[in-house]
């Protein structure tokens, strides 16, 4: 029975966590704990892949006594379980080497395996209570990891904000499931599916689901905690949170909206599409404004979540109009992007943490020239950067290409509203893809290329073997998923069959990826990759044969200024300056002020830029302020004299009695 095997894996993970508590102080603990966790995750991956086509269920006599704890692994949860375990295994392998540099292992080691177990359980849960229990445990454990480096106040602040947002999300999910379940107390998904939900409520439920899952996934404007919390955690955990936990949130949304809610009105799909598009665009714009590498990556998670939700929204739209082939395409695209993003985002975070280990820096403006010191990390990071920038022949392009193809199907929709919004959304996606490319040219170029901007980065060393192995494994994954996307879309067919009553055509290598039908648009990553390889080979051969092969190494052309200062190079800020001027001037009210010293004064001229985060300014800051104001106003209640308290009792009594007297 596969499900029981999966549950045993989770039990083992929890056991490892318990073991870690006792031994985490030891030097050898790191390797053993992470190694064991990685093995369990790989087993879990195997189980997940096996159960894509063979669903199985199990009920334990735990949880709410009258329903017990239901677990089920079907096509959908298998896909996400695979993502979770793959990401988990990669993170653990990376951490075998990386974790040795951990400052407080006893604050990290016990939580990581438990965190993995919690994420797995969310995916396996088959009743509302178990789902929410695991969901909240997931938040809690990740919070513990966020505050594991608790000496810096911003980490603590990040943890606080994260937990508040998580609480909001959980309450929203409480309400969601309460509405889905209805007055009865049968919280099993089967029961929920059976009695469905009234169309009047479906809007509310979708909104609550967006609030609940979106706050964890980082939908705009609920993303605010994400760029604070993800970088705060140890880097392999950042990779887990960004690459995997957000996907678990997506799973929650898919499970509720596609599976439990039943049919959804097309108007609601507009909401999802618009929110997704806005999230994608703003996420990447935020990212462009950053110069902290990990925060930049965190904002890119926001962007990719936006892309995924656009895909899901398209699927909803098509499904509501019965265009199941298109719906299947959009759904598959979204899930494929989920998988791809988990690959390259983990890879990029690994790269960032490798850099952090080697240089102790996260600020790109103090890095540079690392490609000479850490060539292999640089190569892996380059693959990840190209993949996330949606460049062929890598996997990011494949999934975004499918999203675009899905968008092109919108012409067949009967609702003109959707037919107007979807092209706009597609354009926004293209824009965010282009911005992402710009952002990663910046990220890679400023960090790895050019000349070292600090001693830390000039004296960097390549990271250890296991870490590199993890990175290259993921890089290879990006390559394979890009060249042979069919392999992976095939795995998604049962899930899409289950939820959209259709699936993308089965792809057999080396046949191309076919969204709708072979007669229609197709993309063959293999051929493209081969084409580029052959062309490059030919060119190289020709050059080798006919060109002058001598290469003279010399200084950079300095326009006649001897010894150019390293700080004359472009920085993260200056690279983004044109984009900031074009886009951010509106969104973030970006302002630049130049202060030139008076003539004959040798003081440097200063260029100052100011950004305003609209979300904080308009949403979060007011909430915080109002809480402090209200509590401040109410606080005097605690300083009254006894007579006033008696007065309060008296007034309450009289009020209640009066109400009784005048109540109709």
């Amino acid at each position: 029975m596969l499900i029981s095997a999966a549950l045993i894996c989770q039990t083992v993970l929890v056991g490892i966590a318990g073991f870690a508590i006792s031994v985490s102080a030891k030097r050898w603990a790191n390797g053993i704990i992470y190694g064991a966790a990685a093995l369990v995750c790989l087993t879990g991956l195997g189980i997940a892949l096996a159960s894509i086509s063979a669903p199985s269920a199990l009920t334990l006599p735990l949880g709410l006594p009258w329903i017990g704890m239901h677990f089920r692994i079907d096509a959908l949860s298998a896909v996400f379980a695979a993502v979770v375990n793959l990401g988990g295994a990669a993170a653990c392998v990376f951490a075998i080497g990386y974790g040795r540099h951990e400052q407080f292992p006893q604050r990290v080691l016990p939580f990581v395996p438990a965190f993995l177990a919690a994420m797995n359980l969310v995916v396996l849960a088959d009743d509302a209570f178990t789902f929410l229990l695991s969901w909240e445990c997931m938040s809690l454990l990740s919070w513990a990891l966020v505050v594991s480096h608790d000496r810096t106040n911003e980490n603590l602040r990040a943890g606080l904000i994260y937990m508040a947002m998580a609480g909001l999300g959980t309450l929203a999910l409480f309400a969601t499931f309460a509405l889905l379940t209805g007055p009865g107390a049968d919280f099993t998904f089967a029961a929920i599916r059976s009695h469905g939900i009234s169309p009047a409520l479906s809007g509310v439920v979708l909104g609550l689901a967006l609030l609940g899952a979106g706050s964890k996934a980082g939908l705009f404007p609920l993303h605010a905690w994400l760029p604070l919390a993800h970088p705060a955690a140890p880097s392999h955990v950042s990779a887990l949170m960004s690459g995997v936990m957000t996907k678990v949130a997506v799973y929650g949304f898919v499970r509720i909206v596609f599976d439990l809610m039943g049919p959804v009105d097309w108007r609601l799909s507009i909401v999802v599409i618009v929110i997704g598009a806005v999230t994608a665009l703003l996420g990447v714009l935020y990212a462009l404004m950053q110069h902290d590498l990990k925060r930049l990556l965190a904002y890119h998670t926001v962007e990719n979540i936006g892309i995924i939700f656009v895909g899901l929204g398209l699927a909803l739209a098509f499904r509501s109009s019965g265009l199941i082939a298109a719906a299947a395409l959009a759904f598959t695209a979204a899930l494929f992007h989920v998988f791809n993003h988990s690959l390259f985002k983990s890879l990029l975070f690994f790269g960032a943490s490798a850099i952090q280990n080697a240089t102790g820096e996260r600020d790109m403006d103090r890095l540079g020239g690392l490609i000479h010191a850490m060539p292999q990390t640089a190569f892996a990071f380059l693959i990840g950067a190209a993949a996330i920038s949606a460049l062929p022949p890598l996997n990011g392009f494949a999934s975004e290409w499918m999203v675009f193809q899905a968008a092109f199907q919108s012409a067949a929709l009967p609702q003109w509203g959707l037919r107007l919004i979807i092209p706009a959304a597609a354009a926004v996606l293209a824009l965010s893809a282009a911005l992402a490319a710009a952002c990663f040219v910046k990220a890679f170029g400023i960090t790895f290329l050019g000349r070292a901007r600090s001693d830390a980065s000039s004296s960097a060393k390549e990271v250890d073997r296991t870490s590199r192995f993890a990175m290259f494994a993921l890089a290879a994954g990006c390559g394979v998923a890009g060249i042979a996307p069919g392999l992976f879309t095939n795995l998604l067919r049962p899930a899409s069959q289950m939820l959209t009553q259709a699936a993308t055509p089965f792809a057999t290598l080396p046949a191309p990826l076919t969204p709708i039908a072979a007669s229609h648009n197709t993309y063959n990553g293999l051929v493209v990759a081969l084409g580029i390889a052959i062309a490059a080979g030919l060119i190289a051969a020709v050059v080798k044969a006919f060109a002058n092969r001598r290469t003279r190494r010399s200084d950079t052309w300095d326009c006649g200024h001897p010894e150019i200062n390293v700080h004359a190079q472009y920085t993260a800020g200056s690279f983004a300056q044109p984009i900031r001027r074009v886009y951010a001037a509106f969104v973030f009210r970006a302002r630049e002020t130049v202060q030139l010293p008076p003539p004959c004064d040798l003081a440097p001229a200063r260029l100052e830029t100011s950004l305003i985060d609209p979300v904080w300014k308009l949403l979060y800051a007011p909430v915080g302020r109002s809480i402090s104001v209200v509590s401040g106003r109410l606080n005097p209640f605690q300083h009254l004299t006894i007579r006033y308290y008696l007065g309060i009792v008296f007034v309450t009594l009289v009020v209640l009695l009066t109400v009784l007297a005048i109540w109709p």
Binding site: R643, L657, A661
Partner: protein, 217 residues
């Protein structure tokens, strides 16, 4: 005039005396008025005892008489003299509005009991109305007076209301015990006033501490 009319009349008298309590602005007459109220109460309890043929109520009447009409007033006057509490009642809300509020409260309780109307005996629920208004007036007094002593008296008038209610309810058990138990409270409060040397008000054990300590600062 029938038995219930007399009970009714005495209960009304008690309410009237609560108004008198609200009206007083110096401590000695306040104490005397309270003594008077307790006396009337004792009478009504005694009357109820013979009306309901419930001899144990006589004990209650006795307690009321000795304790509230004689002992407590004496103790309080003694306190005033010893602790040099000055004689005027510090009034938060001046007498006029207080009286009006009191009348409103009586109206409220009447209205409530009249709405309750059916079910309980016609006069019984008027007695309840009187008792309720005595309780409310006592609370009102505790809230609108500053001196410790006047607040204690307010509290005790609340108790009077309770006793009125308890005796008004036909055949209610534990009336005596309840009175005793309640008198313990009163005693403790009075002792507390001694113990803590509370001169003026019991807002705070020590007036100097009011600012330094309240909840937290």
């Amino acid at each position: 005039m029938g038995p219930f009319d007399i009970a009714h009349f005495l209960a009304g008298l008690v309410v009237l005396l609560s108004f008198a309590l609200l009206y007083q602005d110096r401590l000695p007459p306040l104490i005397n008025t309270f003594a008077a109220q307790s006396l009337v109460l004792a009478l009504s309890v005694a009357w109820q005892a013979q009306a309901q043929h419930a001899p144990h109520l006589l004990i209650t009447a006795g307690i009321e008489f000795c304790f509230k009409t004689i002992v407590i007033p004496l103790v309080l006057t003694w306190t005033i003299r010893n602790l040099k509490i000055h004689r005027t009642v510090e009034i938060v809300v001046s007498v006029g509005p207080t009286i009006i509020a009191g009348i409103a409260l009586v109206g409220l309780s009447m209205g409530l009991m009249l709405r309750a109307g059916a079910g309980i005996g016609n006069l019984a629920h008027q007695d309840m109305a009187f008792a309720l208004s005595v309780v409310l007036l006592g609370l009102l007094m505790m809230v609108t007076r500053r001196n410790a002593v006047s607040q204690v008296i307010g509290f005790m008038s609340i108790e009077n209301g309770l006793v009125l209610a308890a005796t008004g309810a036909r055949g209610m058990p534990f009336v005596v015990e309840t009175c005793v138990a309640f008198s313990v409270l009163v005693v403790l409060i009075v002792i507390g006033i001694f113990l803590f040397r509370i001169r003026e008000r019991f807002d705070s054990v020590d007036v100097a501490l009011i600012d330094s300590f309240r909840g937290e600062r």
